[in-house]
């Protein structure tokens, strides 16, 4: 990862009538990083990606990709970008190989062996000559990724690439993305799967209601958050109500047979609960995972 910025978004805004899909988004993605783009449904992730790829006209703001401004009428630089924005764009009656041939022509023609290479890479060699419309969702995703990486782009933009894949397939794709990043490709990954992002990304941005609410390195994002106490109790709802009365407490969240508490010490929690006849069977302390940070940032 270097300090060179490959995607720079400034004050990007998009409204569809009265709906503000994206509001004043600012974002920077550095070369060589695997960048996670997170947000709940309707946060504006796909619209933002649409504007990066010149598919959607921004209402205001600028998008620069690989140093060049991108608009729907000025998008030449995107030839150096590979993308799968949303569901894979496939011609269903053509085979994987034929879909890749179409993509190769968009790049001015690529050798047939490159098509074989990417088919091998995404694990579709055996099904390469079957009509892509007959593929499972996971296989279509693999083909979409193959099309995106076919011309060895400098920047790869993927929106929910592991949708519909089995766990082994997801792991394969995660490993592939890491390998691509190690080979110098920048990966911009939009995903709902927070543990996936946590495992594969160096940096993340969290989008909520059209705004970036946090951007930074994954390690920093997790480290900045206060330690969380996880307390196992027989009656979590009652315990949560009691713990909310503790001075300094910032958050109390019942979760199954546990209650997560932030802002207070373990001693204070145990004293409070035992004083009210609730005996905790387990108390652990740790930093929150990305899911907890995400839920906190998006008030989910």
């Amino acid at each position: 990862m270097t300090n060179e910025i490959v995607i720079r978004i400034e004050k990007l805004r998009k409204t569809f009538g009265a709906v503000h899909a994206v509001e004043e988004v600012d974002l920077e993605v550095r070369r060589g990083s695997v960048f996670g783009f997170l947000g709940p449904n309707g946060a504006g992730k796909t619209t933002t990606i649409g504007m990066i790829l010149s598919l959607i006209h921004p209402t205001a703001g600028t998008v620069k990709v690989l140093g060049e401004t991108v608009t729907p009428s000025r998008n030449r630089v995107l030839r150096r970008v590979g993308a799968m924005a949303g569901a894979p764009a496939l011609i269903p009656y053509l085979s994987a190989r034929e879909n890749l041939r179409l993509a190769a022509r968009l790049n001015g023609g690529l050798p047939a062996r490159r098509i074989d290479e990417v088919l091998e890479k995404v694990g579709l060699s055996a099904a390469a000559d079957r009509a892509s419309g007959q593929y499972s969702t996971g296989m279509k995703q693999r083909l979409g990724i193959a099309i995106a990486i076919l011309h060895q782009p400098e920047l790869l933009i993927l929106d929910e690439p592991t949708n519909g894949m089995d766990p082994a397939g997801m792991l394969e794709i995660r490993n592939m993305l890491r390998a691509l990043a190690e080979g110098g490709m920048t990966v911009f990954l939009s995903s709902h799967l927070l543990h996936e992002v946590e495992q594969v990304c160096d940096e993340v941005a969290v989008l909520n209601r059209g705004k970036v609410v946090r951007q930074g390195k994954v390690s920093e994002l997790l480290g900045k958050e206060q330690a969380v106490l996880r307390v196992r109790v027989p009656s979590p709802a009652e315990a949560a109500t009691l713990l909310l009365t503790l001075p300094g407490v910032t958050e109390v969240r019942p979760n199954g047979s546990y209650v997560s508490v932030t802002g207070v010490s373990g001693d204070a929690v145990v004293r409070c609960l035992t004083a009210h006849g609730i005996i905790p069977s387990e108390v652990t302390s740790g930093h929150p995972d990305l899911e907890q940070v995400f839920l906190q940032l998006t008030n989910s």
Partner: protein
């Protein structure tokens, strides 16, 4: 770049079952018409019931060169099966790429939007010209056989291939405003059904009805009808020697050159609108 896009569009279009089903329907209809005419002339039980001038006309239609022009006239106007198949093909190949999101893939790969549409348009006209050429070859082969039956073989000396080629181009040009309108509506609505429905309704109902009404009313309005695409086509196709059949047969007072120019202007304006709409469109997922 345009060439590669055009090759891609051709791959997508010619690999579609719709193209080959459309061709089969067109050929089937052509062969059925000429087969019935042949049967009417050849089978005494039928030919005896027909007036002699009808038999002469049928025999002429079964011989070169008239057979080619008859095939063009019967199968390729805006109110014919060929016209409807053309609207269907254009509407489907244009609109279906929106839900497939293949337009997003091409545009998101840094391809100028105008080139994307231009390649699709060129490919569509290639496909329509292909349909027409294959139909002409099939009719030519069939009527070469029927010529042997009635005149000892096709009259090659009477064939003017240059004129036939120009006639085919005129037929394509006559259909162009409708094709352009289908294309434009498919881009604007992103729906094949809407595009095909509106254009079929316009060519089959609105235009003929308007022509009928204005001919009844008379006066200044009847001058306006000369500028309807159907009447312009009628005027243009006078240069193909055979008058368009049916209710519009006698109409169309414009000379073919002027009609061609007006058709070109209409088509150009409609296509320009399609390009403008596509340029401003958000291709969201």
């Amino acid at each position: 770049m345009l060439w590669n896009l055009y090759l891609n569009e051709n791959t997508k279009l010619f690999r579609r079952a719709l193209y080959w089903v459309g061709l089969a329907v067109l050929l089937g209809m052509g062969m059925a018409i000429f087969g019935l005419i042949f049967a009417a002339v050849k089978i005494p039980a039928i030919s005896k019931t027909l007036p002699p001038e009808q038999i002469v006309m049928f025999k002429s239609m079964l011989a070169w060169p008239a057979s080619f022009y008859a095939a063009l006239q019967l199968s390729w106007s805006s109110i014919s099966l060929g016209g409807m198949l053309a609207f269907l093909l254009v509407g489907v190949v244009t609109a279906q790429e929106y839900p497939w999101r293949t337009l997003n893939l091409t545009v998101g790969h840094g391809t100028p939007r105008a080139l994307v549409l231009a390649a699709k348009l060129l490919s569509v006209f290639t496909a329509l010209a292909g349909w027409m050429a294959i139909l002409m070859l099939a009719v030519g082969a069939f009527t070469a056989f029927t010529s042997w039956q009635f005149a000892g073989g096709p009259d090659l000396g009477s064939m003017n291939f240059g004129h036939l080629g120009m006639s085919m181009l005129r037929e394509l040009l006559a259909l162009t405003p409708y094709v352009a309108l289908t294309f434009c509506l498919a881009v604007a609505t992103r729906s094949a059904v809407a595009a095909i429905g509106v254009v079929a309704g316009f060519s089959l109902i609105v235009e003929p009805l308007f022509i009928q009404l204005t001919s009844l009313i008379g006066g200044g309005l009847s001058g306006v009808t000369a500028y309807l695409p159907m009447m312009l086509s009628s005027s243009l196709l006078k240069a193909n020697e055979l008058e368009p059949a049916g209710m519009i047969g006698a109409a169309g007072g414009m000379n073919p050159g002027t009609a061609a120019a007006v058709i070109a202007v209409y088509s150009g304006l409609i296509l320009l609108l399609a390009f403008q709409i596509f340029r401003r469109q958000d291709l969201s997922s």
